[in-house]
Subunit: 387 residues, 4 copies
């Protein structure tokens, strides 16, 4: 648990980071929503701000004046209708409030929050909500990167985001297999540091012997799979994956383009020749699974990953695991609106572990349970094998 | 046929008008596409500019330097794919090129066009294309108004466009019925002035006796239809209209909102109490037809409208007719790409006559054949009755 | 207007004909509904019977005992829900009532109808409903042929219907062009014989000079269009047609199969080599239009067709016209439920004239206005050209 | 492993059972497919027969004459296209081959199989395939019951299947909680008897303390959930469940109808008053989960269920577990076509344990892992709670 002083620091840097991420955007880039799961950047900026006003300032700041009570509600991720006869709209259809308005909203809420944090001694409950708010915003920072990449990378002009973002951290060492012995292991978040509800409840898990790779599968290796006809061998794929491949005509990772016979990749630095040594990314669980089938290996379970993680480097790609996203044995949903945070997604998704080049600083940990539907590819996903 | 000098004037004012219309927008408003038939304003600005560069400058301006050959093609309304593996996107997903870029593109093309028009004597063919380009842009000006209204009016914040635009021209006189006698009438564009291909070919039409109203159906009258249960009497509606009503839960014209028991209407001036005397607008052909059924009257055919139009005022609402959009007896599709302009839409659409408050100056005429699918409501549509 | 005695004869032969058509079916063939517009044959048999019980026997037969009041309502083509919580089903999902039940229902209603017709002198209104009921059933007989062909012809086993049905009436004479002179012509049903409401209201129509072909376009001619790349030349097609082609991967008329380099056609006699001399059939309006564009000709309007029809043979294919299906100038919808018969379809459809090899005897006439959506192909459609 | 003699017995009774199940059907009932996951009964009868001809007779019976090489392939569940230009059809659109044909096909294959089994000593591999074929057919027997119930129970006439089938086995004893202590348990199929590939690989599992109910949740209890507003409390549901509820307007278990204020249930014996003491059935995983949330309890994992099952009665309802369907630690997909049997479904589905009133005799066992998508309700599903 952070002290109030540490929390002020966390809050300040979190708020700043979101704005830094967006500083490379044109106003127009803040607005669009090319597919349902990609939110407009301005929505992220507004929603994370609404969170602090709604759950902290309204409750704990005496005589808090709402920035704009007629507008902020559009950043409630749960709103469904506003008065009679207003059409439920997708986020990408809303040109207003403007980006400038949102930055003013942010400025106001940040200032009011700092005033509260600096002038009032908050109780534990309040501090916890502030801390959750910071981590919530950090999650949205990672979404910002993924969504910005989707917005720019699916534009036929392939505009770059900036020149500095490093997508491809190369693991420049040989593949080795780390052996873990059969036995009972403890799983779950063990310290008092911040974590989400879904990591809590340390519990025992019996694992069989397994060997896990010390490095991620690379682009070079994934090309071998493609060239061996992996995308057209029905026996490597789940039934639902095969339908997905056919419907969407998938035959390579997302953002890959073959130009004049050479594989290119759209990156946040623009369209580049594919770096063969880099870990493959923007692949679905289905593709990770099919690759593993082809190698006659498998993906780790989340508990295997957690148990072995001290022995390999991680954090460059969110790593698909074989584990479905389910509650831990003692999982309890938190009370109130914040209880909707994690539990309601515990079906039809797969757990990813680790973190990625787009994960905010101090936002991941080895017990962190990320989760996505198995077909999604817009995040910086990757995988390592187990045999 | 306009002289080259007149054409320069037309060109100048047309280009300026488009920009005036957009001068009330925020940058964000230029970007969104909330439904398929509503294009982002920036797309209209770019597309009308691309038209002049593609069909005039590339062909007739010696040594024309393209403004940006890698970008302008996104404003080709016909493009389907750009190189390998680029996803076909909806217009509303494209944050780039930016609005600023488009204004530079406009400035460049306008300047180059004026240079061409002022320094070179163009042949008839070239002048015709310039004239079409101006009318093409004027059509997009009307679309701009309708699309902007859709974008702002479907935003839950109901931002206004400006305070000056006059939507509701009131016909403050009593309803009278204008009698037209049975006989042969000549239909089609009869002068040398500009018109579209679909108006050409003067031909004879035998009309029976009919009486046409001297004024449009008003909001007050349409409320009577609603209150008489018009939207729930299946016998008044086409079979396809009934499905459309049920699927979309339609029970009033578009932009109508009942707030605290009173009908309001979103207008370009913001959300206002409904003006009962104003002509009803933003209704589909289906609703116009059902209203006419309820009154035991009917809509005019386009030839009836054209024959009678000298005897009533028009131009405030695009008036639905009973006529399906079909070729005139001697219709010939123009050669080349401009031949795609009208003919390929001659199925499953209804003709509208007149013009509306959003129609550009000098853009309509009594032979003008506008056309939309029968369910569309985002234009300033209305109707008058025949008995 | 038929006498009651003539009507008895018409009724008897109509009822018999429906059953003769179905006599070649297996029980299983009566049940399926492979696409929405193809109804199961058992539904046709039940619905036409329900019509007589609902609109004649219930109203005019004293003390009529319903055959089965809990069941017959499923043959109401308008029913939407039955009591609480019953799922609205597609017709092809209903295995019950059985075919045997339906034949008993038919037998009962036919017997009761004959008793009524033979023992009671009916008034004009009642006789009119009986006559409509017969023509209604004759319409369903043509649908039966088309639906049966769809059911069997889309089965991968290609079972034949029977050996006798003659689909391909060959026009074994040279193409000639029939000239019709400009002038006023009278259109519409002119006698007292039976016709539908939509044919009524004789009215004058001004036609320009035209020449119409004395024969239908043949398979041989349509192959020339295919081989000239007609299906891939976007300029020949309506915009909506092009989308339809691409979505449905259309590249030949329906029921055509190229096997070992030779065109075959599924016919009611089974899969056969395509008869090159036969008139092309099972094509959409879109394809007829594109063919005409390619020939630099056009389709006739329905009034041209009606005016010229005495000078050519017709009745082998329903002939697409350029005319949208609209009300005649004096069209009045009949009162009551039967008023829903025609008027509510007068939007987004095209008129077809003539009749086909599947049309019931005595069911067509030169004023008959058939209508379908422009993309539909499951009827025996064809076309002739005008220049 | 069964002896060849035992296998003959199993084969005989299996073949007979499928036909007994269908003996209550009308021919029409064999044909329809009201939703994608409900296959026509005739398809089940043909497909299970095709399995024996394809995988046994073709391979092991010397000089086997195919019953009909042009037809049987339609019962291959994997076929996608048959020659050029044949439309991929849904099973419910195929009226042919007829039911009579299928019974002849069954008779022929059963006879040929018995000849093979009685006259030739088969090797282990062959015997295994025969045994799988029998269990495969038993699985289809359960599907037959569920599909027949769906076909008849979604018919507005609510025809009954027969009078004898017992759906509702009442657990007429009090609820008690069976305690299981923390520790390592062995999971998986431990004997040499037949089981599917997905049960194999005995492995250790660490379980925490838990208490499991000795009886299933009843209709009475489920009504309490409904009356407490369970279906409208968003906090009880997964996010995807809530969308599913809203889209499909779900507010009660499948087959429940409230008639004059009383709950009724369509059963295979027809529409009946709901038996309050019977275990609730035809519910989705989502509903089972929401009920458990409401009770502040949870569903068992499949390993908890397997560990505790000796201490309670089961077999009346397939019991939803919290476990996602995943491979056991040592899971290996079998070689060849039979390898597609289970592995390819191991994503996005939930495991169900136990068996139901519709499960074939000798077909279930305590290690059996059934699996369905979480929203499906057409099987005889139910659940018990854990706390």
């Amino acid at each position: 648990m952070l002290s109030q002083k540490e929390l002020i620091q966390l809050f300040k840097e979190t708020r700043l980071d979101s704005e830094k991420i967006c500083s490379f955007l044109e106003t127009e880039d803040y607005v669009v929503q090319p597919v349902e799961n990609v939110s407009p950047p301005k929505w992220h900026l507004g929603h994370t701000t609404w969170f602090f006003e709604e759950f902290v300032l309204k409750k704990y700041a005496k005589d808090h004046q709402l920035f704009d009570e007629n507008t902020a509600y559009v950043f409630n991720s749960y709103y469904e209708s506003v008065g009679e006869k207003v059409i439920r709209t997708n986020r990408g259809n809303l040109s207003r409030p403007t980006v400038a308005w949102i930055y003013k909203f942010r400025e106001y809420v940040t200032k009011e929050m700092l005033k509260l944090l600096q002038e009032t001694e908050l109780d534990k409950e309040a501090l916890e909500v502030v801390e959750i708010g910071c981590h919530h915003e950090k999650q949205h920072q990672e979404l910002l990167y993924a969504d910005i990449k989707y917005i720019l990378g699916n534009n036929p002009l392939f505009p770059k985001y900036n020149d500095d973002f490093q997508e491809n951290l190369i693991e420049d060492f040989d593949r080795e297999w780390i052996d873990v012995s059969e036995g009972i292991y403890k799983i779950g978040h063990k310290t008092d540091d911040f974590c989400y509800d879904n990591e809590k409840g340390v519990h025992k898990k019996y694992l069989c012997d397994f060997s896990i790779s010390n490095k991620l599968v690379t682009n070079q290796e994934f090309i071998e799979f493609i060239e061996a006809g992996g995308y057209s061998d029905v026996l490597l794929w789940h039934a639902e994956a095969w339908d997905w491949l056919e419907t969407n005509k998938i035959d390579a990772p997302s953002y890959w383009h073959k130009i004049d016979g050479n594989w290119h990749q759209y990156t946040l630095n623009g369209l580049k020749r594919l770096d063969l040594k880099a870990p493959v990314t923007h692949i679905s669980y289905y593709e990770a699974f099919a690759y593993a089938q082809w190698k006659e290996m498998r993906l780790p379970t989340e508990e295997e990953w957690e148990t072995a993680q001290e022995q390999f480097a991680w954090g460059s790609r969110w790593e698909w695991t074989e584990s479905a996203y389910s509650p831990y044995p003692d999982y309890k949903k938190p009370e109130g609106a914040l209880g909707e945070y994690n539990g309601k997604f515990m079906v039809n998704q797969k757990v990813l572990r680790g973190g990625s080049v787009a994960t905010s600083r101090n936002h991941t940990r080895f017990t962190y349970r990320n989760f996505f539907h198995p077909q999604l590819r817009w995040q910086f996903t990757g995988f390592r094998l187990v045999k």
